[in-house]
């Protein structure tokens, strides 16, 4: 009689080995360098790919199972959200501008991250990182899709979100996050892993997602909170991938250390500059604040990043130099950014406003060294002017930093009364920079950064008007033409929150929801 012997289930470690290395093979009739053409040119030396292991030891079968569960949870919350007019539960309509900023600035990056990890994973000869990159690539497309789905419920009611991807590729300030990711995916596979996998996901992600998601929770936004958490649940795995890849590269060969250090320096700065948008969101755009930008930088970078770099010291890796300048900027960053967006409210896809008295109090308590002295007087003046009917809209175009593409709004390290300008002459042209760090990044790879698509230059060259526009006709209004090119409607998608349709509609709809009229 045949006895069916119950096979013992494999343990986690064995299962991981079978489902990664066990699925790999050595090519016999193609050369390794033909199959993996990008693996050598960055100068990184890898001797043994099998030394890399995902410490979660997640395999594709388990991956699908848990991801499906995350999706089920998310979509049942989104259903409940729409069934209950969830959009009316947010603290106040100003909050929606956070959602607009996120959808047009961050969600498209999720999609690019999907492509980036698919590409990097394909290039790595090791099955361990390849499988982990495949998972992250799938995660990222899930993030893009779920964010679009969740925010589409707001798009039914509020302005500025109708063509977010078109905006991402065109609107002046959105070239900051866009060019950041384009810079990363056009680097080699190892630099991509250090830029996005390590510097962005491990060192900086907590500064982006944790404030955004807990900000959403604090401000009654169930949809954003849920997709945020759903995306965040993949984040621990991404962080682990980033950290493991960097440790692996550093352990493989001492020659890799200086290359990796340079990338860490570059990408910590690049990522930090992008986080300028998050800093102003935290300090100005969330009607109910979670913590200040400065506090979150202290917890998640200084404390937590400090622990990380202490741990990496055994490989000879140091805290990036730019941390010193960032520490000097933390009292100023969000205020300088919000002032700029307040100025350029006519050319943006979301609304801005002046903080009210309570909010000014909060800001001076959180920023005792800078707010009352430098920023409050400016805001009071603008508020006075607005009350007299002179709400200021800046219609001239600012000079942009060639590297980070942010207008040159930042001040000298240590002197917040003086704008910081740096410049470089390269092959007969002059290039401008917001900081020593952006300048140094350019100087190391000028041929890459001279190609930057700078929105201001493009507008001046006539490349940002709808086709057929004649800028030489009498009374030509360049801003109106640029807004058309952005597919934004003047007076509806832009300008001050106070005069917005969003404000009016939200008040009306909320009134209907709570009264029997």
């Amino acid at each position: 009689m045949d006895m069916t012997v119950a096979k013992k289930k494999l343990g986690l470690k064995e299962r991981y080995a079978v489902m990664t290395r066990g699925l790999d093979w050595t090519p016999s009739y193609q050369k390794m360098e033909d199959i993996y053409p990008y693996i050598a040119y960055e100068g990184i030396k890898i001797h043994d790919w099998d030394k890399w292991e995902d410490p979660f030891r997640l395999t594709m079968d388990a991956y699908w199972k848990y991801q499906a569960e995350k999706e089920r949870k998310l979509y049942s919350v989104l259903d409940a959200f729409t069934q209950n007019n969830g959009h009316l539960n947010v603290t106040d309509a100003r909050y929606l501008n956070t959602v607009k900023l996120f959808l047009s600035g961050i969600s498209p990056l999720e999609y690019v991250a999907h492509r980036g990890f698919a590409h990097a994973g394909r290039q790595f000869p090791g099955p361990g990182p390849r499988v982990a990159c495949l998972m992250q690539s799938l995660d990222e497309i899930r993030h893009a899709q779920t964010q679009v789905h969740a925010v589409s419920n707001y798009n039914k009611y509020y302005n500025g979100m109708h063509d977010f991807h078109h905006a991402h590729d065109r609107v002046w300030f959105l070239s900051v996050p866009k060019s950041f990711f384009d810079d990363a995916i056009t680097a080699g596979p190892f630099e991509f892993m250090v830029s996005i996998g390590f510097s962005f996901e491990y060192v900086l992600t907590n500064l982006l997602f944790v404030p955004f998601v807990s900000g959403a929770a604090y401000n009654g936004d169930m949809a954003a909170m849920t997709f945020g958490f759903s995306a965040q649940s993949d984040e621990a795995r991404h962080m682990t991938l980033g950290l493991e890849v960097i440790k692996f590269i550093l352990e493989q060969d001492p020659d890799n250390v200086p290359i990796v250090q340079r990338w860490i320096d570059k990408w910590t700065w690049r990522g930090y500059r992008v986080l300028t948008l998050v800093a102003m969101m935290m300090d100005y755009m969330l009607p109910k604040r979670t913590m200040s930008w400065k506090e979150s930088w202290e917890i998640y970078f200084e404390e937590n990043g400090g622990a990380l770099f202490k741990d990496l010291a055994r490989y000879g890796i140091k805290m990036p130099q730019c941390a010193e300048q960032i520490a000097l900027e933390k009292d100023h960053l969000s205020h300088q950014a919000w002032s700029t967006f307040y100025n350029y409210a006519a050319a943006a896809n979301f609304h801005t406003w002046m903080p009210d008295e309570d909010e000014m109090e909060w800001l001076s308590a959180k920023y005792p060294n800078s707010f009352d002295k430098l920023y409050r007087p400016r805001y009071e003046f603008w508020r006075e002017q607005a009350a007299k009917g002179n709400r200021f809209y800046n219609k001239t175009l600012p000079m942009l930093c060639q590297t980070c593409q942010i207008p040159m709004i930042f001040t000298e390290p240590g002197d917040p009364t003086k704008i910081c300008y740096r410049e470089v002459d390269y092959k007969g042209d002059k290039y401008h920079f917001c900081s020593d760090h952006c300048k140094a990044i350019f100087e190391h790879e000028p041929e890459k950064y001279v190609q930057a698509w700078l929105p201001v230059h493009q507008i001046y060259q006539g490349n940002c008007f709808p086709e057929g526009t004649d800028p030489t006709v009498e009374g030509f209004d360049p801003l109106a033409a640029v807004l058309k090119y952005y597919n934004l409607e003047h007076g509806r998608d832009n300008l001050d929150f106070d005069v917005s349709e969003d404000k009016k509609n939200f008040a009306e709809w909320r009134g209907q929801a709570t009264k029997n009229i």
Binding site: P55, A62, S214, T290
Partner: protein, 89 residues
């Protein structure tokens, strides 16, 4: 020793897990934030399957934690029985 942390969503599934972590890690401190529980520990934090199973009275696969995890800090190692977060320096 530097702090390691694990942040989980606040919900019914994570309640016993947080309880288990606090039982197994004497240095663990809970920091409750909007919709999120962050657990900080000194240098090392262990999530043990057995403790979770004792508290919930059912079999538990540590990979289920994937669904409720928000963020973490530290090096990680996972086996069938434990998830460990740690700094070496």
């Amino acid at each position: 020793m530097s702090t390691v942390f694990l942040a989980l969503q606040t919900n019914e599934e994570t309640r016993p897990i947080i309880e288990a972590i606090l039982q197994d890690n004497p240095s663990a401190v809970v920091d409750e934030q909007p919709a999120m529980v962050k657990i900080n520990a000194d240098g090392r934090l262990v999530v043990r399957r057995q403790t979770i199973e004792e508290l919930t009275g059912r079999d538990y696969d540590l990979q289920e934690l994937q669904v409720n995890m928000i963020t973490m800090s530290g090096n990680l190692d996972q086996t069938d029985d434990e998830i460990t977060l740690f700094w070496k320096a």
